[in-house]
Structures are given as C-alpha cells and as structure tokens.
C-alpha cells in the first residue's frame, strides 16, 4: 500500500463568488515509502495548494488525501496528528522562528505532540545533527544566527517531529551555491536514514535533477507528468513547451540530437552527460591514436 495517496483531489477558492478559481483540479497521485519526489511547476500551478492539502492545512473542496489508506479528514479532530506525520517546511522557514533559544524553537513541534521531556530532548538533538547544527548553537538565540543557520534551525524544527513524509517548499530559495548544496544533502540523508518520503517543491530544475528519484510536473492545477526523473527529463521538449527550463546539459543533448548525432540515453546532470558522451568522443581519440 502506498503511504500517501490522493483521489480526485480538488481545491476551488472563492466558490460562488466572481473570484472563483480552481487551484488544484482532480489530482490522483501515489507516493511510496522512501520516494524522493521533486515537484515542479510555475507560480500558480497549484504546488503550494497541493502541499497544504497533503498535510491537512487546507481542506480539499472535493476528493481525498489518504495517509496509510485512511482519509485524513475522516475525523477532523485528528487533523493535528496528521500534521505531525506529514511535516511541512514552508518557503523561507526562518521567518517563523520565535523562541528564545534554538533548542526551544526546535522543541516546539515535539512539545505540541505531547512527548516526554527526555523524548523531546533526544529529538531536538537528533534533528539538530541532521542539519549539521553545532550543538553550541542550540542555546543561542535563533535571531543571532546567520541566514543559512537560521534556515537549518527552522528545518530541524520540522524534522524533530520525525515526519514519515517530509514536504519542503523551495528549501534552497535565496541561498548561495554552498548553502544550497548543504541543505540538499541533509534532506537526502534524512530520507535515507528514516526511509521517509520526501516531496521537494522547487523552481530549480538543477536541484531536482540532482536529488530526486521521481518528478511531478504540475501545470494549471493538473498533473502534467509524474514519472522517474530520467523519464521526465527525457521529455525535455514538452517541459520546454510548458515554459519550464530544463537543465543546460539536457539542452545540449537536445542540440546534439537535432544535429542528427545518435546520443544514447538522456542526461540531466553533468556526471551523466560525461559518461554518456565519453564513448562517442573517445572513439575519435582512439582512432587518432591508431
């Protein structure tokens, strides 16, 4: 059984007003345990509405979200426990920090879960280690940290709830390449160690190409593609026609094919491109040598 499933999931805002707008329209999706799914689409494609429906922050106007086979809205009183199992990290999460110390901020979620002091303590420390946060910083005020550190504290605040499903909205927005690489690696580590399902919403095709196993492309509130990363990036022309920028290496492969060169397979990272191209280019080197 899939850990998370949506059935005909629909969200319409402002029903029966002149501003009526369907943000998500009849989506059927399944997410398996351990999946790392990249979610891409334009602003307004329905990404953030979908995210907030998956953890019960928004109630769908039609359709269902099934967590472990149970409709999360079957008992609305239980919706808070759904939010602990489906952790959601918003964009610029550092803007929600509020406690006097990082420790207490990270402990906010676990405390709301009603856990014991010892359990909270373990969870805070483990979560801090996932995001490589210096234990010394735990007793500092989150407002004294650097931008990158603040973001890591905020992400740890969600990880401390040990969600089985972790959803992140643009966790790398505004970070420089160094900060971005750190966060992406930590997200992957959390998935690997907990066999958690991770949904990563991103505008960056390069980020998604680097860490996702599967890619979900949303367009106008509907699923345009949902497949393995390789299969999605192999439809580079379609992605371009949806106005999404494919990674530069993928475009290079498209260009080579347009020139009639039989490039085998597809590439969306530099490493893949090197190994796909090398045999063809080496032949030349070898032939010259002969």
């Amino acid at each position: 059984m899939s850990i998370l499933e949506t059935r005909d999931l629909t969200m319409t805002y402002g029903i029966k007003t002149p501003f009526e707008k369907t943000a998500v329209c009849g989506i059927d999706l399944t997410f398996e345990k351990g999946d790392l799914v990249g979610i891409i689409g334009h602003t307004g494609s329905g990404k953030s509405t979908l995210m907030q429906m998956l953890n019960g922050l928004l109630k769908p106007t039609a359709g269902q979200v099934l967590l472990d086979g149970t409709d999360i809205w079957a008992d609305p009183k239980n919706i808070r426990s759904v939010r602990f199992r489906v952790g959601l990290v918003f964009q610029y999460p550092e803007h929600q920090l509020f406690e006097e110390t990082c420790y207490r901020d990270i402990a906010f979620g676990p405390k709301n879960m009603g856990l014991s002091e010892e359990e909270i303590d373990t969870r805070v420390r483990v979560a801090a280690s996932y995001v490589d946060l210096d234990p010394e910083l735990l007793q500092k005020s989150p407002f004294d940290l650097s931008g990158g550190e603040k973001r890591r504290v905020a992400i740890a605040g969600v990880l401390a709830m040990r969600p089985e499903i972790l959803i992140l909205d643009e966790p790398t927005a505004g970070l420089d390449p160094k900060g971005r690489d750190t966060i992406l690696n930590q997200i992957r580590a959390y998935r690997d160690e907990n066999d958690a399902t991770v949904l990563l919403v991103s505008h960056s095709m390069e980020d998604v190409a680097r860490i996702a196993d599967k890619v979900l492309v949303l367009d106008h509130g509907q699923v345009a593609m949902y497949d393995t990363t390789e299969a999605v990036f192999s439809r580079a022309e379609e992605l371009s026609s949806l106005g999404l920028s494919v990674p530069a290496v993928t475009r290079i492969f498209m260009g080579l094919r347009a020139k009639g060169l039989p490039v085998g397979g597809n590439a969306y990272t530099v490493e893949q491109a090197v190994s796909a191209l090398l045999p063809h280019l080496r032949k030349g080197g070898d032939a010259d040598a002969v």
Binding site: F90, H95, V158, M161
Partner: protein
C-alpha cells in the same frame, strides 16, 4: 483569509467622486460623518441618506462593492437593533411574551439607528474606495499644515500613514503565512481557555514583530537610497486644484447641514 478584508481598499477610477479634490472630499465626508449624527427625525435622516445616495451615484462604483463594506459591521448593526427592539417600550405593542415586549417605537428606533450606522460606514468607505491612500495622506498633510505653527511635524505624520497603509496588506499576508507554518508544527490556535489562547499567539506575534523590524530597516535603506530627507524641499507629483465643481460640493454640504439643523428645530424628534 485576513487578506480578503475590503475595508480601506482603493478602487481606481475616473468618476466625479474620484476626481474631487481630496481636501474637499475629506472636508465633505468628515462634515457628513458629523451630520449623520445630527438628525433627530426621519426627514433629517432622509436628507442625509439622499446626500449619501448622490455620493454613491457620483462614485460610479458597483453597488455590490459598497454593500461588501458593510459585512464587517453587520454584527454590530444586528446587536444594536435587537437591543433597541427589546429595551424600548413605546408606541403600540406588537408582541408580548413574558417580560419581552416588541413595540412600534422600538422597531422605529432600531431602524433609525441601524440606518445611521450603515450611512456612516458607507460614507467613510466611499472616501477610501475613491481616494488612493497616498492622495488621502497628502490631503491630510495639506489640510493640517497650519498645525506646523504649533511645531507639529505634519509631513512626518503623513509619511507614517502612507507607510502604514502600504504595509497593512503585506503584513496581513505574512500573518496568514506564519499562522499556517506554526499550525504545521502542531500549534493549536482554536482550543483552550483564554489564557491558553493568548499564549498560543506568541509563536505568531513574535515572528510578525521580527519581520516588521526587518521590513522597516529595509524600507529605511530604500528610502535613503531614493534621497528621502524629510519634507523640506520636497515637491509632489500630484498638484491639487480646487475647481468650480469642488466649490459646489462644499456649498451643497453646507446647505445640507443647515437643512438638517432646521429639521431638528422645526420637527419633533423621532428618537426615544
């Protein structure tokens, strides 16, 4: 959602009311607000409502929009009406049930006061709907400029109002976002006793405060980059001119005031 509040929103347009000199508009509407409390009888109130109706027609705004401005105060209107109906005992008794008594006097009083509140809100929303916030603060700055004599920095007050108006929607959006984010961490904002609920606001208020300070610092930098140095030597893109039509509006308002006072003097009060 918080951001859906319509109070204080501006709807651009080119109607006579939009084009009225904002200083004149301010004077007219403030006079009107005072006026609406003057009438003691139906004729006086009718004059006020007719004046308001002229204003609504001059604004050329859809009626639906104007009605929407009433939504936030519907509750207050209802409560006052019910209280009036229940407590006022005069005229013919229409219904009696135990100590409860509904009389024609009560109903008439309730309707009178409800109409007054509605007229008040619609009148003031006409001002904000047809005047951009900056124009409004600009007009206030100019109207209050005599206060400079008593060392009140009118420009700074106006600037603060401009900035407040500019950032209200941004901060409302932000509040929405922070609330969702804390709910995602299990914050419970809906249950518990008063103390618990107040405490539950801390995770929302502190980030909001921090973000306001950050925005304020950014904005101050941006304003300095754009050579802001207070009101001295500053010019304004919009020049204000009192036109013939503006004089007419002022005269009409004065005439209305006179008429209402006359009504009060000549006719018996309808209020109990």
């Amino acid at each position: 959602m918080l951001s859906e509040l319509t109070i204080g929103q501006f709807f651009p347009g080119r109607s006579p009311l939009h084009r009225m000199d904002p200083r004149v508009k301010l004077v007219v509407i403030f006079t009107y607000i005072v006026l609406i409390f003057v009438p003691q009888n139906w004729l006086g109130l009718g004059l006020g409502l007719a004046f308001l109706l002229t204003g609504v027609l001059l604004s050329q705004l859809p009626v639906r929009l104007i009605l929407r401005s009433l939504r936030p105060i519907l509750f207050i209107v209802l409560i006052t009406s019910v209280l009036n109906i229940l407590y006022i005992d005069s005229g013919t008794v229409l219904l009696q049930w135990g100590w409860l008594k509904i009389t024609t006097g009560g109903i008439s009083n309730a309707v009178f006061i409800a109409l007054r509140i509605v007229a008040l809100i619609v009148g003031s929303s006409l001002l904000t709907y047809t005047t951009s916030p900056t124009t409004l603060t600009d007009a206030m700055e100019r109207l209050m400029s005599p206060l400079r004599v008593i060392r009140i920095n009118v420009h700074e007050i106006a600037m603060m109002m401009t900035i407040a108006l500019r950032f209200i929607p941004t901060l409302m959006e932000e509040t929405d976002k922070i609330m969702s984010a804390q709910k995602a961490r299990g914050a419970d904002l809906e249950s518990g006793n008063l103390l618990q609920r107040v405490r539950a606001l801390v995770p929302i208020l502190i980030p909001l405060l921090v973000s306001s300070f950050r925005r304020a610092a950014d904005l101050a930098t941006a304003m300095e980059c754009r050579c802001y140095h207070g009101g001295d030597g500053r010019t304004r893109m919009k020049q204000l001119h009192v036109r013939r039509s503006d004089v007419c509006y002022l005269l009409a308002t004065a005439a209305l005031l006179a008429a209402m006072i006359l009504c009060n003097l000549l006719l018996p009060s309808a209020l109990i």
